[in-house]
Symmetry: C2
Subunit: 102 residues, 2 copies
């Protein structure tokens, strides 16, 4: 399950979790909007590139989807991948545990 790997790795970083918080509050933000929110609301001093790379990781995990409009690129939250993660260990699997060997 390479999908699970991307998902959990994406959630491992606190800055990325804060980004998800911001997108939960308002979906469809641009890179610069997210940057200024992290700086203003959360006192996070991080470069634009840093945020951009975080967004790429979140997109690879399927947690963020993007759409381009002119020079703007909007980032939307997708919570669908989150639903599987809790259920993996809460519900006993009859089909056996996932193959997640690295």
């Amino acid at each position: 399950m390479a999908v699970a790997d991307d998902l959990f790795k994406a959630l491992a970083d606190p800055t990325r979790r804060t980004i998800l918080d911001e997108l939960t509050e308002r979906s469809g933000q641009t890179l610069f909007e997210i940057c200024s929110r992290l700086s203003m609301k959360h006192r996070l001093s991080i470069s634009r590139q840093g945020v951009s790379q975080h967004l790429a990781v979140l997109e690879a995990a399927g947690l963020v989807e993007t759409r381009r409009e002119g020079r703007y690129k909007f980032h939307d939250l997708n919570t669908a991948p989150l639903r599987q993660i809790a259920e993996r260990w809460l519900v006993p699997h009859t089909s056996g545990p996932e193959d997640d060997t690295p």
Copy 2:
């Protein structure tokens, strides 16, 4: 939220997730039992110390609880911390997002 940080970091590693799978299947295993299961079932070549360190991370996250009996140390799964993680972004929080700044 330092608790969330430990939790997500613990889940970030695929070997640790496999350990959780094994403890889901049978809770209360010793270090050596877990080692042999990882080696046999999952073809994971990892030293005993490696597994021990993984278990320490899982215990710090509250996902594993231990009890000593003689020379044996049994490892039990605790899924309680898992319940919060999905709900963080699935349910819109009226109290605002968590303070998870690093």
